[in-house]
Amino acid sequence: MTILLLLIPAALAIGGFGLAAFFWALRNGQFDDPDGSAARILIEDDE
C-alpha cells in the first residue's frame, strides 16, 4: 500500500497541472475569439 503514497500525489499533480494550464488559457484570452483563432491559421505571413 506504500505505493499509494507515491501514486496519489502523482495523479493529483498531473491532474492539477492540466487544471492550471486550463485556467492559464482562460485568463490569457485564449477563449476570447474562437472563430478568429480558427480562421487565423489561414492567413499567410509572407511579408
Binding site: M1, L4, I8, A11, L12, G15, G16, G18, L19, F22, F23, L26, F31, D32, D33, P34, D35, G36, A39, R40, I41, L42, I43, E44, E47
Partner: protein, 706 residues
C-alpha cells in the same frame, strides 16, 4: 487623413465594430491595411465579436479610423461605451466545469478503491483526500447553482437549482461528518459528478445562447456616427451624432448614411430606405422633402437641415420598439423550469417524509438523515438537467447542417407550438432583389444574349449584375467590346464589330423596372425586371398548412406590389404596415391566444420579429433582421420554414420522452432510497445510467431536419 502628424509616445485604444468581417481574408486585409497607416501601432481583429481593436497615437481619432476602414472596403463604427458587448453566458461556466470535472475524476478514482474493499485507516485516508479535493471544488463549481437557487428562494419561488443546491450541500455536509467519524460511506463523488453533469448541460445551453446577438446594438450602429455640419461661416466641421441638434445643416456625400432626420435644403438625390421600410427600390427625394436617419444617400451630395436628432429619430424609435418587444418575450418560461416547479416540491416533501418516517419507526436521527439525503441525491435532476439542452443542441446541429441556424435554445420550444405565421413580402417571400424575366431572356438570340452579357458584366449597377448572373448560367461567353463607357443614371454604352450597342434605362421609364438592350440596326429589346418569389414558396406554404400553421402576408410595401404576390400564392395580405403596426398585429394575435411565427428580413420587421413567439429570417436579411430572429435560414428555398417547424416539434417530442425516462428512473430508484438500500455506488451507477440513456435518446435527433 489630411493633417500632418507627429508621432506621439502615448497610445490610445479604440474598438471599432465592423459587421462585414467574415473570413481570414478580411482579417488579414484589415490588420495589414490599418497597421500600415501612419499613427497606428497595431490592429487586432476579433472575428467572434466582429470588432477591431486599434492601438493608435493621439493624432488619430475614431472618425479617421472609420474612414481608413471605408477605404479598405469595410463599413465600420466606433463602439460606443453604452453598447459594450454583453458578457458571454458560457465563459463564466467554463472554470466551474473544469474544476468539477477534475475533482469528480479524482474523487471517483478514490471511491472505486473504497468500493473495492479498502478498510480501516486506508479508507479514512481516501475519505480525507476526497474531502480535501471535494469540499473546495464543490464550493467553487456549485456557485452558479447556489446563487440562482438563493435568488429563487429569496423571492419565495423555487427552480431546478433549489433541489440541486440542497442535495449537494447536505450531501457534502454529511460526508464530512462521516469522514470525521470514520464512517463507511462518503458522498463527495456523487455530489461532484452531479455538478459536472449539470454544468455540461448548462454550458451547452449557454453556448447556444451566446450565438444570439442583441438586435438593438446592431440597430443603433446603423445610423451614421456623425455628420459634416455647415457652420455659419460656411466652414465644414465634423460633429458626432449625439451632439447634433435640430436646425444644424448637414452635408451628406453620396454613399454616406444620414445621422439624423431632416429636411433637404439643397440638392436632390436618391435614397436607399430599405433599412427603414423594406422597400428595395431607391426613393428619389428633392429640396423640401424629409430624409430619415439610417437611410443611405446614393447619388449626389445634399444639404439637410436637422429636424430630429439622437433619440428622436425614426431609427431610434424602432430601436425602442424592439427593446420593449424583447422584454415581453423574455417572460417566456422554459419547459425545464416549468418541470422544476412541479418536481422540486415533490422531491422535497418526499425527502422530508422519509426522514419523519424513519424517525417514527424508531431509527436514530443520524440514520434518518442519511436516508433522507440518499433520497435527495438519487432524485437530483441530473438526467432532467440534461433532458432539454442535449436534445436542443443535437437538433440545432442537425438544422445547421440543413442550412438553418438556431440562435437560441428556447427558440425550438417556442417554434414547436406555433400555429400562425406572418410573412413579410420583400426579401422573405420574394428574393428581395430584381431579377430579369426568364421568358424574355429565352427569346433573346445568341448574338443578343452574348452582347447583353458583355455589356452587363461591365457595370456594377444592380440590374446589370442580376442580368449578368442570370446569363452566366446559360453557358455563353462574353464577346469583346470596344469603347466601353458607363454613364451614371443612363447605362453602359460600347461598340461591337463597329455597331453601337447599349444597355440602358428605357425611354419613358414608368412603373416597371426594365433595361433596354439596343444593337444598332436591330429593334430595341426590353428586358423587364421584377422581384421573384423564392423557389418552392407554394409547396412550402402548403406544407405549413398541413402542419396546422395559418399563413398571411404582412408587408410595408405598396398595396399594388403586395396584391400581385398575394394572388400568386393564394394568401391574404396586409400592405403598407409600418414597423409599429406590424408589431401591434403580432401583439393582437398573441393576445387572442395564437402562437405567432414572424418571418421577415428588414429593419422594419425588427420589432415584429422581436415581439413574435418565434421568428425566422433569411440569410440575406439586414443585420437587424438577423439579430432579432431566433432562426436564420441560409438557402434560397422557403422549404426551410416547414422543415424547421417539423424539427422543432420532433425535438419537443424527444424532450418529453427524456422527461419521462428521467422520471421513470426516479420511480425505480426512489423506493430503494426510501428503504435505505442506496449506497453511494448504487447512486453513482444509477445517476450515470439515467444520464446516458437521456443523452442516447437525444442523439436520435441527429437527423431531425431531414
Amino acid at each position: 487623413m489630411t493633417a500632418l502628424r507627429k508621432p506621439a509616445p502615448a497610445f490610445e485604444r479604440t474598438v471599432l465594430v465592423v459587421p462585414s468581417i467574415h473570413c481570414a481574408g478580411c482579417m488579414s486585409k484589415i490588420e495589414r491595411g490599418l497597421g500600415a497607416r501612419l499613427g497606428v501601432a497595431s490592429a487586432r481583429v476579433n472575428l467572434s465579436a466582429r470588432t477591431v481593436a486599434v492601438e493608435h497615437d493621439a493624432s488619430l481619432d475614431a472618425h479617421d479610423l472609420v474612414r481608413a476602414l471605408a477605404e479598405l472596403g469595410y463599413e465600420a463604427q466606433a463602439r460606443r461605451d453604452e453598447l459594450a458587448p454583453r458578457l458571454s453566458a458560457a465563459r463564466p461556466l467554463l472554470a466551474p466545469l473544469a474544476v468539477a470535472g477534475f475533482a469528480a475524476m479524482n474523487v471517483m478514482l478514490l471511491s472505486v478503491s473504497v468500493w473495492s474493499g479498502a478498510e480501516g485507516s486506508t479508507r479514512d485516508m481516501f475519505h480525507w483526500i476526497s474531502a480535501g479535493i471535494g469540499v473546495p471544488a464543490i464550493a467553487f463549481a456549485g456557485r452558479p447553482f447556489f446563487k440562482s437557487a438563493w435568488q429563487a428562494v429569496r423571492h419565495g419561488r423555487t427552480n431546478m437549482d433549489v433541489p440541486i443546491s440542497l442535495g449537494v450541500l447536505i450531501a457534502t455536509g454529511l460526508s464530512l461528518y462521516e469522514t470525521v467519524r470514520h464512517g463507511e460511506h462518503a458522498w463527495f463523488d456523487g455530489a461532484l459528478m452531479l455538478l459536472t453533469f449539470l454544468l455540461v448541460g448548462r454550458v451547452l445551453d449557454a453556448m447556444m445562447r451566446d450565438r444570439a446577438r442583441t438586435g438593438v446594438d446592431a440597430l443603433l450602429s446603423q445610423a451614421a456616427q456623425g455628420a459634416m455640419v455647415v457652420g455659419t461661416d460656411a466652414k465644414l466641421a465634423w460633429i458626432e451624432a449625439p451632439k447634433l441638434a435640430p436646425g444644424m445643416v448637414m452635408r451628406v456625400a453620396a454613399g454616406e448614411r444620414l445621422a439624423a432626420d431632416g429636411e433637404i435644403v439643397t440638392g436632390a438625390s436618391r435614397f436607399d430606405q430599405s433599412l427603414l421600410t423594406g422597400e428595395s427600390a431607391p426613393m428619389p427625394l428633392h429640396t423640401g422633402d424629409q430624409a430619415l436617419a439610417g437611410t443611405l444617400n446614393l447619388d449626389a451630395p445634399i444639404d439637410v437641415r436637422v429636424s430630429h436628432a439622437g433619440h428622436d429619430t425614426t431609427l431610434a424609435e424602432i430601436a425602442r420598439l424592439m427593446e420593449a418587444s424583447t422584454q415581453s418575450r423574455s417572460r417566456y418560461v422554459r419547459i425545464a423550469d416549468r418541470a422544476a416547479r412541479l418536481y422540486a416540491p415533490a422531491v422535497h416533501s418526499l425527502a422530508a417524509l422519509t426522514v419523519i418516517g424513519w424517525l417514527l419507526s424508531g431509527a436514530s436521527l443520524y440514520q434518518a438523515l442519511v436516508t433522507g439525503v440518499a433520497v435527495l441525491i438519487i432524485t437530483c435532476p441530473c438526467a432532467l438537467g440534461l433532458a432539454v439542452p442535449v436534445a436542443q443542441v443535437v437538433a440545432s446541429g442537425s438544422l445547421m447542417r440543413a442550412g438553418i441556424m438556431v440562435k437560441d435554445g428556447s427558440a425550438l420550444e417556442r417554434l414547436a407550438s406555433v400555429d400562425r405565421a406572418l410573412l413579410d413580402k420583400t426579401g422573405t417571400l420574394t428574393m428581395g432583389k430584381p431579377l430579369p424575366d426568364p421568358v424574355t431572356l429565352l427569346t433573346l438570340s445568341a448574338d443578343e444574349a452574348t452582347v447583353a452579357f458583355a455589356l452587363a458584366s461591365h457595370s456594377r449597377h444592380p440590374l446589370s449584375r442580376a442580368l449578368a448572373a442570370s446569363l452566366a448560367k446559360r453557358d455563353i461567353a462574353a464577346v469583346p467590346l470596344s469603347d466601353v463607357a458607363e454613364r451614371a443614371g443612363e447605362g453602359v454604352f460600347a461598340r461591337w464589330h463597329g455597331l453601337e450597342v447599349s444597355l440602358s434605362r428605357p425611354q419613358g421609364g414608368g412603373e416597371t423596372m426594365a433595361a433596354a438592350l439596343a444593337i444598332e440596326g436591330r429593334p430595341v429589346r426590353l428586358i423587364p425586371f421584377s422581384d421573384r418569389l423564392r423557389p418552392d414558396a407554394v409547396t412550402a406554404l402548403a406544407q405549413l398548412r398541413q402542419l396546422g400553421v395559418e399563413c398571411s402576408i404582412l408587408s410595408g410595401d405598396r398595396p399594388t406590389a403586395v396584391v400581385e404576390i398575394a394572388l400568386a400564392i393564394g394568401l391574404t395580405a396586409q400592405a403598407n404596415a409600418r414597423p409599429a403596426e406590424k408589431q401591434a398585429l403580432v401583439a393582437r394575435l398573441r393576445a387572442s391566444g395564437r402562437k405567432v411565427l414572424m418571418v421577415g428580413d428588414g429593419l422594419n420587421d425588427g420589432p415584429a420579429l422581436a415581439a413574435a413567439d418565434a421568428s425566422m429570417a433569411p440569410g440575406s436579411a439586414s443585420d437587424v433582421g438577423l439579430q432579432a430572429a431566433d432562426l436564420v435560414f441560409v438557402q434560397d428555398s422557403l422549404l426551410a420554414l416547414p422543415r424547421a417547424i417539423r424539427a422543432a416539434r420532433r425535438t419537443m417530442a424527444v424532450v418529453r420522452q427524456n422527461f419521462a425516462l428521467a422520471i421513470g428512473y426516479n420511480l425505480l430508484a426512489v423506493p430503494l432510497a426510501i428503504a435505505g438500500l442506496v449506497t453511494p455506488l448504487v447512486a453513482a451507477v444509477a445517476m450515470s445510467a439515467s444520464s446516458l440513456i437521456v443523452v442516447g435518446n437525444s442523439l436520435r435527433l441527429a437527423r431531425a431536419a431531414k
